[in-house]
Assembly symmetry: C2
Homo-oligomer: 326 residues x 2
Amino acid sequence: MNPDVEQSVQAALAGLRARPEVHSLFLVACGGSFSQMHVAKYAVDREARSLVADSYTSAEFVMRDLPRLGAGAAAIFCSSSGNTPETVAAAQFARAHGAYTIGLTTKPQSPLAQAVDCAIGYESQPALGSGDAVAAILLRLVFGLLRDREGNTRYEPLMRSLPCLPELVERAQAVVAPAARRWAEENKRAPVIYTLSSGPNYGVMYSFSLCLLQEMQWIHSQPIHAGEYFHGPFEITDFDVPFLAVQGLGPCRKMDTRAITFAKKFSRRVEVIDLEALDLSGIVPEMRDFMQPLVLLPVVRTYAMHLAEDRGHPLTVRRYMWKMDY
Amino acid sequence: MNPDVEQSVQAALAGLRARPEVHSLFLVACGGSFSQMHVAKYAVDREARSLVADSYTSAEFVMRDLPRLGAGAAAIFCSSSGNTPETVAAAQFARAHGAYTIGLTTKPQSPLAQAVDCAIGYESQPALGSGDAVAAILLRLVFGLLRDREGNTRYEPLMRSLPCLPELVERAQAVVAPAARRWAEENKRAPVIYTLSSGPNYGVMYSFSLCLLQEMQWIHSQPIHAGEYFHGPFEITDFDVPFLAVQGLGPCRKMDTRAITFAKKFSRRVEVIDLEALDLSGIVPEMRDFMQPLVLLPVVRTYAMHLAEDRGHPLTVRRYMWKMDY
């Protein structure tokens, strides 16, 4: 793991310690970066006795103009380029309102890095497991903050578990590779592909639907929440409607399993990524629920890479993004 | 407006006044009822100085098992039948954890009504404007609570504005009727229809995508957030991809307008419901931002009713819901 990242994370935690009045945490970004915030929101929800967290896409965050955004708040922003206009504006907005601001970006000289109190650099390698990936940094911040505020004990097992990620993810990708190849061939002409997930994994499949399928493959999609599936979306289930479903670990598994069981009854095209079928033994058991999205994100990338190859439509192709003003 | 509803709302507000320790509000339901909670979450975000609100689909709420769920919490649930198993379970769960629980249902003898501290009955008339509709009751609870806690002054203008809704909505539906008829004909063979919205209106279009298009019409959809559109979904925009977009009032309008302007450049099938084109003069100006979803919900119903008629697929048809165990 990268010592520069660790130094920045510690600086951010020190900055938070210097602000004992902070009781609200805002998690703000756009698209793929926004989807990563679910991991941090989930950890706060499951663990915090008094800290509250909320997550918004950047423009909505500024638009809501929450009266709670002030000295009692901290806000974490993320933009790979550090240049996403809505996210830079949101960071400036939060800082001007007195919140303590932290920014994750791959570009240490970027506008986002300059807009925040504390910038944390990371390398963007979405196909690799890493204790320095965005979601891993977010967990380090959240569990460090909860340790300092509330005596939460998960920071140490988190730090013990993170170094195993590169090898663990490589093994997991090898396990799913045959299924990913078959799935890509079966779905290369699909006009619509739904994802199905819940709990800590929902953010990963949100990014799979919006960034990998819609943005990078021009395939229609919706990230269906397994708990919402039975209250509307399940009526579009039919023999030929494809679902890429996640069967997660921990408390969300029951919800996932119920939705998958139903979908499989009426669709012949339900592909399941079962996290119990992967070897997560390097992760301390108590941390698997929180860390499963860190494994899932690079694992679903394998599915996207095979799909892109079979469709002759590289993941780098865009028609609008970065090509014009919008 | 119905005096029984008013009596129940006042009982709920009295129950909340008896619990000054409450600082967290949880808004919990499934599907169409869940979508209504956005109105309440938006009002708390925009107005509260210290109260925090969060919204979950029922199964996810129980699964998260938040340590903050206790005597310092209140929770509002909604289920039209009062029989939604996940919502009844969530209400029982919250009450057992010491939270003050309020339940909205059309069935005063239902399991949900029996599971909560305070039940509020309502009539489900999704095509009509009403100060006793779910979202209206939620605003009465939120602004009543904020008045009692924080001296917020919007309860009185809210109550002054609500009685105009039946007539105001009827007029608005007449205004959009020709566009809704044309839109239905143009889109009756569309395999996918996206919605595009933000801010207080997002919940309405979430229900349009999940409940009206997917559930009741078996049409593929995703409720795209106008702020997220440029960070993934906009790449699926093409000349023949249909969007039903909302151009809202107040601070969300800028975000909506930006997305609509882009979508119209590359799709010939962007239908815009412009809330500025409707006569909302019965609503006190300061309340229009909060109350616009109460107008939008029955207005988009007009679009759904024409679509159902043109497709020969009534809104009441289901293949799975209520027909089997799941």
